[in-house]
């Protein structure tokens, strides 16, 4: 009985296409604020469409492996394709003393101490949290905080400080407990806002004066499970710390769900620094938006040519899926790579690193 199901298949394809066109802008904002704003000026949309058509024409008959010079890697979930690239970048070395001093200098971290009390206490000679160990009221809390600092327990400290405010600059100081190589800069591209496959997982690390970018690009969506298992070891490694842009609301929950979809157990309890929150705190009101693209232009002075709009990525990947033409994927990969590099540089700037992310 292939016949009725053929027809059924085509019916759903048509519905999917029709809905896709309407939804190029009709995005349900309540699910991922910030990254996918529901309104974009039409000229951008048309421009991106033309870009896609140019790419299809330009890359006709080109094979995937020709266009993307990477290698196949084997991982627990199967095989997937890895693209590597690097550029110059430096981050401050780890500085646990500076981190400790910053944390311990802030008495308001202890429950019950507000700004007024802090002033009073400091006036009476309680300069740091270590001093509070002598104080009958606050000694217990202070001792706990001291322990966390002594152990360099970043997770605990991030949670402690984050309770107060997700965007507290002190969190950036805490990140100095980590060496540059501990940071995993993460950015994913997906086929939609949720309930659809991830099509590109981008990971970057700073080491020895370079930022090394690893991009796991799915040749087809059945490689998703493999790609997830490929990056999991890095994410769950001892001492790893995650840095993202809006990853709290989008990237991390998304990865969690896809892991659950495949039945892959994971903890993902590493400390997480979401640059969006810090950026908003620093630059809100200074620029039109705090989107990564805007900050990239305004703060880093970077202009992108022929960039694909974030919300058009699903359509570009779907076009590749249906035609086999790798052209539409080219700007997606570049977009993701540039996102990761800018993310790392903004992180360095917000933290106040010496090189300022140059």
């Amino acid at each position: 009985m292939a016949y009725p199901f053929d027809r059924a298949g085509r019916l759903w394809r048509t519905r999917a296409d029709r809905a896709g066109e309407q939804n190029a802008f009709g995005v349900n904002e309540r699910f991922a604020p910030g990254r996918w704003s529901p309104f974009a000026p039409c000229p951008d949309y048309d421009r991106t469409r033309r870009l896609r058509d140019d790419l299809i024409a330009g890359y006709r008959d080109r094979a995937f492996e020709d266009v993307f010079c990477g290698r196949e890697v084997a991982c627990p979930g199967g095989r997937c394709y890895l693209l590597e690239s690097r550029s110059v970048m430096d981050l401050d070395d780890r500085d646990p003393d500076r981190a400790a001093a910053a944390v311990l200098g802030d008495l308001t971290l202890v429950r019950g101490i507000g700004e007024v009390t802090e002033r009073k206490l400091k006036g009476r000679g309680y300069r740091t949290v270590a001093d509070l160990v002598r104080h009958p009221l606050y000694r217990r809390e202070a001792a706990r905080l001291l322990d966390s600092v002594a152990e360099g327990d970043v997770c605990n400290l991030v949670e402690w400080i984050g309770r107060r405010r997700r965007s507290d600059p002190l969190l950036l100081e805490v990140s100095r407990f980590h060496a540059p190589g501990d940071f995993i800069f993460l950015d994913i591209e997906t086929l939609g806002l949720f309930s659809r496959p991830i099509i590109l997982i981008g990971l970057a690390r700073v080491q020895g004066g370079s930022i090394i970018v690893h991009q796991y690009l799915l040749r087809s969506v059945d490689e998703e499970e493999a790609a997830l298992t490929a990056v999991l070891p890095a994410l769950e490694a001892e001492g790893a710390a995650l840095v993202t842009f809006n990853g709290r609301a989008f990237d991390l929950p998304y990865i969690r769900e896809r892991l659950a979809y495949y039945g892959i157990p994971a903890d993902l309890g590493m400390p997480h620094f979401d640059v969006l929150h810090f950026a908003r705190r620093r630059w809100r009101g200074s620029f039109a938006t705090c989107r990564l693209g805007t900050l990239e232009t305004e703060v880093l002075g970077v202009e992108r040519a022929d960039d694909v709009l974030g919300r058009m990525v699903p359509e570009f990947y779907d076009t590749y899926q249906r035609t086999g033409n790798p052209g539409p994927l080219v700007p997606v990969v570049e977009h993701n790579r540039q996102d990761l590099v800018s993310l790392a540089r903004l992180f360095a700037i917000l933290r106040g690193d010496a090189d300022g992310g140059a």
């Binding site: 759903w12 394809r13 309540r30 979930g77 659809r196 496959p197 059945d222």
Partner: protein, 754 residues
Amino acid sequence: MPTAVRDFLDLLATDPRFRESVVHIETTPRREARYGDLSRPLPEELRAYCDGREIRLYTHQCAAIEHLRTGENIIITTPTASGKTLAFLLPVFERLGADPGATALFLYPTKALANDQVKVVRELERESRIRVDAAIYDGDTPAGKRPVIRERSRVILSNPHELHQVLAWHMKWSRFFRNLRFVVIDEAHRYRGVAGSHMAMLLRRLARIAGHYGAHPQFVLSSATLANPGEFAARLTGEEAIAIGEDGSPGGEKAFVLYNPSAGGGGRSAHWVTKDLLLASVESGCRTLCFTVSRKLAELIALRSGPVPGISAYRAGYLPKDRRAIEDGLKDGSLRGVVTTNALELGIDVGSLDGVIISGYPGTMISVRQQAGRSGRRSGESFAVLVAFANPLDQYFMRHPQAFFSRPCEHAVVDTGNPYILSGHLLCAAAELPVDPERDDRWFGPDLAGMLAAFEQVHLLRKASIGWIYAGQERAADMVSLDAISSDTFRVMHGARLLETMDRGQAYREAHPGAILLHRGETYVVTGMDLEQHTIRVEETDTDTYTQPLSTTDVAVVREIRRRDIGGMQVSFGDIKVTEKVVGYTVRHYGRAVSYHRLDLPPLRLETKGLWFTLPDRTAEVVAAEGRDLAGGLHGAEHALIAVMPYHVVCDRHDIGGLSTPLHPATGAPTIFVYDGYEGGIGLAEKAFALLPAIVGTAHELVRDCGCTVGCPACIYSPKCGNQNQPLDRGAAVSILGDLAGRLSVTGPHSSNP
């Protein structure tokens, strides 16, 4: 001792206004309660709850408890006031009390019903002290509350639409699903036909996900009376269920009156007559619920009852707080009479009433039973009155009371093989968890491999090592809609005040510019309609007139997809467009048309799939030679075909529509159309096209062998006819169908594509 009910019935028998029209009274004697015993008593907290309210369990409640205790699924079809809810609440709470992690999901067809029932559940929770944190989880639940409910509640009340969306997030529901012991489906009879197919697939997706977390919940279906409860439950849930239909609850004497305003030769319109009956009932002291077949009539009757206080209309389009106020008023007695559409057929608690007036046959015996079942007390009398319209269908029942009272409730059919519905839900399932053809064919049937392959062709699914995964750009649950209700809603505004909402069809027919609109007893005139903004503006007015729309319905052939030429007949299947155009309206004063006005509204369009065939010239000639009416015969044949289609195509007769005409522009000949009532088509006419010889044969037998003379609801009268079942000619219909059946049986059932 005289009672209000007795007073009213005596009035009907003696008052010259009424007595000529009382055709028949069927009295059901009072019924003693039949109590049951449990093999093992209920736990103490629940026993205390029952004792505290002087509740002794009836036989059917005990049966429900026993079967659920042994791990079976059940479908309860006892009437509304028989304590059905308690029959399943007690065993569910018993289990949840014994197992501190156990959870239960309660599904209702509407949010309104869920809102009503959560009070009952919470009350049992409070008084039995069995903590379940009962909560509603639906589209109205604020985002902030959702995580807590998911994490903590053990009884969650929701509806199919919400479940359809939520399944993709099952990771967030893992605790709830892991411990899921019961799935309760209330008003289950609503899920028949296409709606049933969707619900059946949704329940299979749910069971699949529950199984993923290691749970195997029991199904509890609470339903109106059906001819085939066991079969229906099995089709809907995919599992065997025990049918519990013997009602052990007591009942007072009940008088069911068949009332025919046309009997005395009177020509008064139905709504006047209904209003008189309603007022008589209320003034006798009876708390009365009056059901009507249309929203308009509900308002009209309530309006005309104006002088008597305590009467209100009720419609689904009212704002929720207004509806709640009316429900409460009926319950506490501050409202003595309510006129409603079938919106109040649902089990929303309005207390028990003295009498029910049913204005116009509602279309199915299921509805008659549900509506009549709203009146009835444990002891003491109650009544139901069916007021017949001039429609031949209603008149048939008046002439044959025994046929009415012995007519069984309809079969509820659920098709689990419709490829369009099945495939849509397969996509959703793949987005929820990878599909494993070996494990999942129990949910999707033997054709699973074929569907997966077809979807891979169009890049919506992709085969991965773990199974087939969803690869579409669109969210699967957004593409698959559970019903055909459009989100094309219009707002009726009086100044800045929102009166009510309605869909586009209703707006064009009842709230067009110039229409007189009744709302909660007030009369308004529509002064403007903004199609862009979906807003209708009204002003108050003081008038005795009302308006009636005039519309024309047309079917146009868009594209023929398949054709068969058989025995001189040409049968086609393809894309058609059904257009209803509201062309104007009449202003009427006490039933007489006073003026006519034209309207310029865009047409209402339904693009769907249908089949059509023409009558060969020979056949038409024979009909003419016999001196019969061709149009009446075509019309009758169309009704008969639609009446038998559900048995061949497995749908509900409300899922399909038809049109017949002695001359159609596309064919130039007498033509009958039968089409799917859903945008884009849903596979019904397509299947009928393949089975047409059998369908025509059955239709012919139905009409030929019917014992009636001029036609009856068993053969050619349709409850859905837009033309008041006119014109109809039974003899011509027999002739036509006989001829067609003969021609179609000449060749076999294989089609040829054009």
